[in-house]
């Protein structure tokens, strides 16, 4: 769907923001992007829908190189939607509803179609009830959902979110998570950046690690998080679940089963183990 080939990008002061990045995004995936502040995540995202033009290398959209002509850019920006980190700068219309309509109206859709798309997006994200309010009166959690709605209304195939849960309390963060799972489907890829390895491990199928503007790793979540050397080098921690599980496995001496993906899975595993150990202890007593 979207492919970057040897893309480099420099800032005006000469520092390299992206350095020879090659990357292909296909439909239906859940990708978490990790990397320290300044590793190039935002710059990468801005290349994906043509807001920034690579200094070297090229961007392919459905197999054709993007020539940065008006028409093609229009289509690219419809297919690739970016939800920026700060909802305050992203919501710029007097009401949530007008903001959600901004994208569809720009695509030149008929009034009816635009309204329909906006309505669907607002329903999905649960912002219908405050659609006539000015964004500045909403809570942070509501703003974040409104920002997602205004991008979802353009029905993108690739939905990119820059730190969607930053600043949210755990309750709202979980709600956003659920929403992202609903938005992801066979045709739609959801890609997000985060600082939370535990969340990335639990939510994503694939992890992309950026480091000083280059792709350091792009692989399945489990495989990648087993690579201790890689993690240390990128100043990343192993998700605690994997760490605890590894310690416990060493203890029980059993062969590697499937690594648990969530706290619930880990606790169930411990529960089962518990059963076994109890039996072992009983056996020992009987033998004695």
């Amino acid at each position: 769907m979207i492919e970057l080939k040897n893309v480099s990008y420099h800032y005006t002061d000469g520092t390299k923001a992206l350095n020879d990045v090659s990357l292909a995004i296909t439909p239906g995936r859940k990708i978490a992007v990790l990397g320290n502040n300044g590793a190039g995540k935002s710059t990468l995202f801005l290349h994906m829908n043509g807001l920034l033009q690579p200094a070297e290398g090229q961007l392919l959209f459905n197999g054709t190189p993007v020539a940065y002509k008006r028409r093609q850019l229009q289509e690219l920006r419809r297919a690739v939607g970016i939800v920026f980190q700060h909802p305050d700068t992203q919501l710029f219309s007097p009401t949530v509803r007008e903001d959600v309509l901004y994208g569809p109206n720009n695509l030149g859709w008929s009034q009816a179609r635009a309204e329909q798309a906006a309505l669907e997006a607002m329903e999905k994200t649960g912002v219908l009830e405050f659609q006539y309010k000015p964004p500045h009166f909403l809570s942070l959690g509501q703003k974040k959902r409104a920002a997602i709605a205004s991008v979802v209304a353009m029905q993108p195939k690739l939905l990119i979110l820059d730190e969607p849960t930053a600043g949210l309390d755990p309750y709202y963060a979980r709600k956003i998570m659920q929403l992202l799972n609903e938005l992801h489907n066979e045709e739609t890829t959801v890609m997000l950046s985060t600082h939370d390895v535990n969340f990335a491990y639990e939510w994503a199928d694939e992890i992309l690690i950026l480091q000083s503007g280059g792709v350091r790793a792009f692989a399945g979540a489990e495989e990648l998080f087993h690579d201790q050397a890689l993690l240390a080098d990128c100043h990343l921690e192993q998700p605690w679940m994997m760490e605890v599980f590894a310690a416990l496995q060493a203890k029980s001496g059993q062969k590697i089963k499937k690594v648990p993906k969530s706290k619930q899975e880990l606790l169930t595993w411990i529960e089962e183990e518990l059963q076994q150990t109890r039996e072992m202890v009983t056996e020992r007593m009987l033998l004695k």
Binding site: P94, T95, P134, H136
Partner: protein
């Protein structure tokens, strides 16, 4: 469009500086009084200055296809009042010279007189006059911003004409030449700035 550094002869550069100082002093005095009563206005005004600067650094799409910078004077005057705009406008001009290399230091007096003194005063007068004559809000804002913008450029033409009178026809002929050339770009720009100011004010009223 500001007069660039080094363009005005020394006596005219000084003349406009001297002319602008009393207005600046009056503006500062009124600000000082406000700050004494409400200390919190200082930060507010500093941020208003930053806002006006950013506004004037935006590119606005012009009807002629080219794009240029708005003065931000119309909106600033409507939002912050003409006296405060004298000071804020001067600060904005200072930073346009320091950060954008736009305008100059010796020509700052002349530029401040057209953009930070005359522009806001005319904008304010037009707006008040229109409201007195029961002209609608939208039309009043548009006219105020449009005429305020236009008067700024007319004054710039006059300043250049005074400094460089034509060999034949003197100041008047020179003024016609400068105003004629500037009007090619500035009339459409003033129109756009008028429309922009109207939409922004309506947006803010809705809010």
């Amino acid at each position: 469009m500001h007069i660039m550094e080094g363009f005005l002869p020394l006596k005219w550069a000084i003349f406009w500086w001297v002319l602008v100082l009393p207005f600046l002093a009056a503006g500062l005095r009124s600000i000082q009084k406000t700050i004494k009563e409400h200390p919190e206005t200082k930060m507010m005004l500093g941020l208003a200055g930053a806002f006006t600067f950013v506004l004037s650094a935006l590119k606005i799409p012009s009807v002629t296809g080219s794009s240029s910078h708005p003065t931000g004077v119309g909106l600033g005057t409507v939002l912050f009042g003409p006296l405060a705009m004298t000071v804020l406008g001067t600060i904005v001009l200072l930073f346009q010279a320091l950060l954008l290399a736009h305008g100059g230091i010796t020509t700052l007096g002349a530029n401040a007189f057209s953009m930070a003194v005359a522009g806001p005063l005319i904008t304010y007068a037009v707006y008040k006059g229109c409201r007195k004559m029961n002209i609608g809000f939208t039309a009043a804002v548009f006219l105020a911003a449009f005429l305020g913008d236009l008067s700024t450029y007319t004054l710039t033409s006059l300043q250049l004409a005074l400094a460089f009178p034509a060999e034949i026809g003197g100041v008047l002929a020179s003024f016609m030449k400068f105003a004629g050339i500037f009007s090619l770009t500035q009339v459409s720009l003033a129109l756009c700035e008028g429309i922009l100011t109207v939409i922004v004010m309506n947006w803010l009223l809705k809010y």
